[in-house]
């Protein structure tokens, strides 16, 4: 009995040998196929479906499934409310994200040392992340209530005069109120990731820097930051995406008001899609947001890859 040659040559003499894939190599692809299929079904199908709906004309009364061209995209480009909502969203990202990062980093540094009761403090700090965002928003609405809320009361004690700050109405206070609630809830998330990253920084490098007399800032910039950079980048990316679809806290606190002053993309999409039933228009909006986010994420991931 002869063993079959796994790489048989062509029958023709002198012909170039044809390299064949070893038997069983394709098996690994078959193994991951179900998972890929599920991901495609869950992830890609809604995107394709959204794209299809965006070129139809489905409204509260019209179920027009025929091809309608790119009219909704054209309308969207001229929709000032959409661009304002996008700008409001970017403001939230631009302000809340650095705050969460810096506070999370500061807290992570603080908890690097083995303080007494550290596990209890860490558990307490993480609690806000476990709260549903809409519940967090409702809680902050109560906290900031001008009549019964403790925050006005505390400010009143500090200033010595009765305070009736209208956090959900006053244009000077609505953004701080939302950002306060958002930072309160999600800083612990940053803290957890950065805390884990900081614990993995090479201690020998830290000691070497210390022996060389490097300042804290220099050590952080040249030793710590490069080591935790991939984690920082991913944490920032996750939170940026979260903030980009900010809805719950804003809805609970201001419903996008006063007027549309704090209306985010998610809120505008909700209003258009589920209150006014502009289904196709909302699909166009969603698809445009998907494109913006996909491009942004691709660029960021590529940048992270390059930096590594």
């Amino acid at each position: 009995m002869t063993q079959a040659d796994p790489f048989p040559l062509s029958a023709e003499a002198g012909a170039r040998p044809v390299r064949r894939r070893p038997r069983g190599t394709g098996f690994k692809y078959w193994m991951i196929l179900p998972a890929v299929a599920v991901i495609l079904l869950i992830g890609l199908f809604p995107v394709i479906y959204t794209a299809m709906k965006s070129v139809q004309n489905i409204t509260m009364f019209d179920q027009d499934f025929s091809y309608n061209g790119f009219i909704h995209y054209k309308t969207l480009l001229n929709d000032t409310r959409f661009w304002k909502a996008l700008a409001h969203t970017l403001i939230f990202v631009a302000v809340a994200l650095p705050l969460e990062l810096l506070l999370g980093l500061a807290m992570a540094y603080l908890f690097l040392d083995r303080l007494p009761g550290r596990p209890i403090f860490v558990t307490l700090l993480v609690l806000p992340v476990l709260v549903s965002p809409i519940v967090a928003g409702a809680t902050w609405r109560l906290l900031l209530d001008n009549r019964y809320g403790p925050i006005n009361q505390i400010i009143g004690w500090i200033t010595g005069t009765e305070q009736t700050l209208l956090w959900s109405v006053d244009p000077n206070l609505v953004y701080p109120a939302i950002i306060l609630a958002e930072v309160w809830q999600w800083t612990p998330f940053m803290f957890l990731l950065l805390w884990a990253a900081l614990q993995n920084v090479d201690q020998s490098q830290m000691e070497a820097a210390e022996l060389d007399g490097a300042s804290w800032w220099r050590t952080f910039r040249l030793v710590v930051l490069p080591s935790i950079w991939p984690v920082v980048a991913i944490a920032v990316l996750i939170r940026a995406l979260d903030l980009f679809r900010l809805f719950d806290v804003v809805w609970a606190l201001t419903k996008g008001g006063p007027g549309t002053m704090t209306e985010t993309i998610s809120i505008y999409a909700y209003v258009q899609g589920f209150q006014q039933f502009e289904t196709s228009y909302t699909a166009a909006m969603a698809f445009m947001v998907i494109i913006i986010l996909a491009v942004t994420v691709t660029i960021v991931l590529r940048k992270i890859e390059i930096d590594r």
């Binding site: 009364f61 209208l166 109405v169 006053d170 244009p171 008001g257 006063p258 549309t260």
Partner: protein
């Protein structure tokens, strides 16, 4: 109501059914519904109901009664008012048949009918002989909250109307009255009948009492503010649209005056009134912090302490003003019939007949009288027989005056705006209210709102909307005569 009270009440009602109904002409519709529903014994009907207190009616009272009488189980899906329209329409689009009966705000009915979500009810009304009892619903609800284009789609089931509540002890205080006359040059009106009088009295009380009691408090939060704007704007002579061109006219001088007056009023109202909703305003009034307010009928019942010792109303602050509250129509004399509910049947229901019969039974003269007297359920009198009920009048000493104020409101009330996609227009007003509280100029806000309305009209179709508005505006209850 505890279980024991419920069982006794159900037994009494069952007894009344067996003995009294054949002799009571106005009980026939309920009896017919129960008899016809026997054919559906063992089935279930799922009903969309406003979340919270409203839902306690079918959960604690009418639902169990119906199940006991017919063997049909009632499932209640509680939905916040602000999401009811969305949920109903989404379910209709999905065609799941998840909802059988619906509570719908009458102003939404035309939109839901256009979307095909509501079942026409004429044939059921005819089949189960409900016509005569439908006729005894107070005319303003019967004529305006039941039909769309001549077809019945809802059974008016809630006499919502805004009422002016005022503290009789404060406004009738001789010292206040004499000082008011000395300063203002006319007798203090009890109650104020115009917004000018209301503002004079309210501002004077705040100043006179040195802030110990405010002249008035209001629900200024945008959801309520938008309804209050509709009412006051029309009472002051405003019109929503030019009927010829369909151009929005909410930015007229009247609209600007209403917004400007609101900002001025806030100065003599409690601090932070801009954020007040139903509960905040109620708490302030029941605590005796404000001398006047405008709200829906439950305020009057709770201010009198009616049923507030029940568990369901344990959250209502204890009234400190029982016996000291007067009821009247809102200034201008044409209160808004704000919101309200009608009972309808979902077009995608798989149990339409049973769903309709449950609605007929609920809405019947006999059962509805029991329901509007439930202290916690927020259903307000909507039949002539409710306003005239001796039983209801005996509920608290001032109940006769209360019922009279509600009936006056029903006779003189103004309908909510109801055109194609009304909510989109109302959303603009809601946003305008929030902009007003943020300090923007009233004229600029309303100019922008009018532009948005015009753009909406353009999008929906000018001629279509013009016809819808003409139909609505031709109703005597659309604008004050």
């Amino acid at each position: 109501m505890d279980r024991r009270q419920f069982v006794i009440g159900s037994g009494a009602l069952a007894g009344l059914s067996a003995v009294g109904w054949p002799r009571l002409a106005n009980a026939q519709a309920a009896q017919k519904a129960v008899e016809a529903a026997q054919a559906f014994r063992g089935s279930e009907v799922t009903v969309v109901w406003e979340a919270g207190l409203q839902a306690l009616d079918p959960l604690n009272f009418s639902g169990p009664m119906w199940e006991e009488a017919t063997g049909i189980k009632v499932n209640i899906v509680e939905v916040p008012t602000s999401e009811m329209f969305t949920k109903i329409l989404q379910e209709h689009r999905a065609g799941t048949g998840a909802y059988d009966a619906l509570n719908v705000v009458p102003a939404w009915m035309p939109d839901l009918v256009r979307a095909g979500a509501l079942e026409p009810l004429d044939s059921y009304v005819e089949k189960y002989g409900y016509g005569p009892e439908l006729e005894t619903i107070a005319p303003v609800y019967r004529d305006n909250q039941m039909k769309v284009d001549g077809t019945i789609y809802g059974l008016p089931d809630d006499g919502d109307v805004l009422v002016l509540y005022y503290r009789t002890d404060v406004l009738n205080d001789p010292a206040l009255q004499s000082e008011f006359k000395a300063e203002m040059g006319y007798d203090l009106p009890v109650p104020p009948t115009t917004w000018k009088e209301f503002d004079d009295v309210g501002a004077f009380i705040t100043e006179w009492s040195d802030g110990k009691i405010y002249g008035a408090g209001f629900m200024r939060e945008s959801t309520y503010g938008a309804l209050m704007f509709q009412e006051r704007f029309r009472n002051e002579g405003g019109r929503f649209f030019d009927p010829d061109t369909m151009k929005a006219t909410i930015n007229s001088d009247v609209g600007v005056k209403v917004f400007t007056d609101w900002v001025a009023e806030n100065k003599w109202m409690p601090k932070g009134v801009q954020t007040w909703g139903f509960v905040e305003n109620l708490a302030a009034f029941l605590a005796g912090d404000t001398a006047m307010t405008v709200s829906w009928p439950p305020y009057g019942r709770w201010a009198a302490g009616y049923g507030t010792d029940t568990e369901a109303l344990s959250w209502v602050p204890k009234s400190t003003i029982g016996g000291k509250v007067g009821y009247a129509m809102t200034p201008g004399g044409h209160p808004q019939l704000a919101l309200g509910f009608a009972l309808g049947v979902s077009s995608s229901s798989r149990n339409k007949e049973a769903a309709y019969l449950f609605c007929q039974w609920l809405n019947s003269a006999e059962i509805s009288l029991q329901r509007v007297q439930l202290p916690y359920a927020l259903r307000d009198p909507f039949r002539d027989s409710h306003f005239a009920s001796e039983e209801y009048k005996s509920r608290w000493p001032e109940a006769p005056q209360y019922l009279q104020a509600l009936q006056d409101g029903a006779v003189n009330g103004l309908l909510d705006l109801s055109i194609i996609q009304t909510d989109r227009y109302e959303e603009v007003i809601r946003q305008s209210v929030t902009r007003l509280w943020s300090g923007e100029d009233p004229k600029a806000i309303l100019d922008d709102a009018a532009a948005q309305w015009d753009s909406l009209t353009e999008r929906i179709g000018l001629e279509k909307q013009k016809a819808a508005y003409a139909s609505w505006a031709s109703n005597p209850a659309a604008y004050p005569a």
